[in-house]
Symmetry: C2
Subunit: 197 residues, 2 copies
């Protein structure tokens, strides 16, 4: 089974190395990892929005070719995951393909949002905690916004979380590997059952 | 045509009022607006992740019942859109349903990211601008991450942006209305052509 490796690693200085490392983990658990930069992506002579849409088409084609997604939901420049990753989780869920995810931060979304907003948290008249725009701070005990966790939960799994030191936030693969193992347990075991059933 | 009104308005103190206001705009342009809180959502006796997954199922059912999405991509507690909204854009795009979007902030994603990161921007060895984790600051002249803008561009549109005062960031509907008008121009005109063609 081919796994689309969604996540903000594409923004690292050496994204190809990050992709290779994640693929090695996938291989150990019986999956073939597919990184967003895989395949031939020709950006010669294009820039700006034209280059962006070409990358968009490329990623969409890779998602179409994959059987599931394992998303890196580690918060990216804020309390939430990278929005490109969130888009891809929604895309794969709509196709009926399993969505697994992990985060290299342990805290609940609510605690993380409060910490991220620092002194700008207020209690609304309805008793809900909110930011300075009076926008409620979501509090369901999840890793992130309920649409992201919801897709994973409906898949019979949960967002795998672990505490990772800040210097390894976007490179540590231990939590990722636990997530890959969970996906293998759910999907490859199911596949095995079917074959022998 | 039914429009799923994705956006962070669900976090406002009076989300129902926000939904009604957006539906009035939709009606003026020939659309039926559907707000994420519409319909019957029973959360009696559930809380935490169980409540969250029930809301997730509810939103998924509403998206399935809609013909297109108009997403509020106005940045939410950071340089990017709300991740729930991003998930829903990906979900609708995968179903082949048109994705339109707008933002009440005018600046490009790159300029906004730089401003959001304040003194924490560095130039990498490869010449790219990056945050303190050396993660590249995406710079394609778009409103947000290329997966979000890409879905809108592939739909023959673009993310409608406008400058809105901070106090009206999550309530102003002028930019939203311009986006609804764009969707009507593209979809209802096309629909009209088909009927007469």
């Amino acid at each position: 089974m081919k796994v689309y490796l969604a996540g903000p690693e594409v923004f690292l200085p050496d994204p190809e190395a990050a992709g290779r490392a994640k693929k090695e983990v996938c291989a150990r658990h019986g999956f073939v990892g597919v990184f967003p930069l895989d395949g031939s992506l020709n950006l010669d002579g294009v820039s700006g929005p034209d280059a962006a849409t070409r990358i968009f088409d490329h990623n969409v084609a890779l998602m179409q070719a994959c059987d599931l997604v394992i998303a890196n939901m580690t918060p990216f420049r804020g309390a939430s995951a990278d929005v490109g990753t969130a888009f891809e989780m929604g895309y794969m869920h709509a196709l009926g393909k399993p969505v697994f995810a992990y985060s290299n931060l342990q805290d609940d979304f609510s605690a993380r949002s409060m910490s991220w907003l620092e002194g700008e948290v207020l209690e609304r008249e309805d008793g809900r905690m909110a930011d300075r725009f009076a926008m409620e701070i979501e509090d369901f005990g999840l890793a992130d916004n309920l649409m992201l966790d919801g897709a994973v939960i409906r898949n019979g799994a949960e967002v795998v979380r672990g505490p990772v030191g800040e210097s390894r936030r976007y490179s540590e693969l231990a939590v990722f590997e636990a997530c890959v193992a969970e996906a293998a347990e759910i999907l490859l075991k199911k596949d095995g059952d079917r074959k022998t059933g």
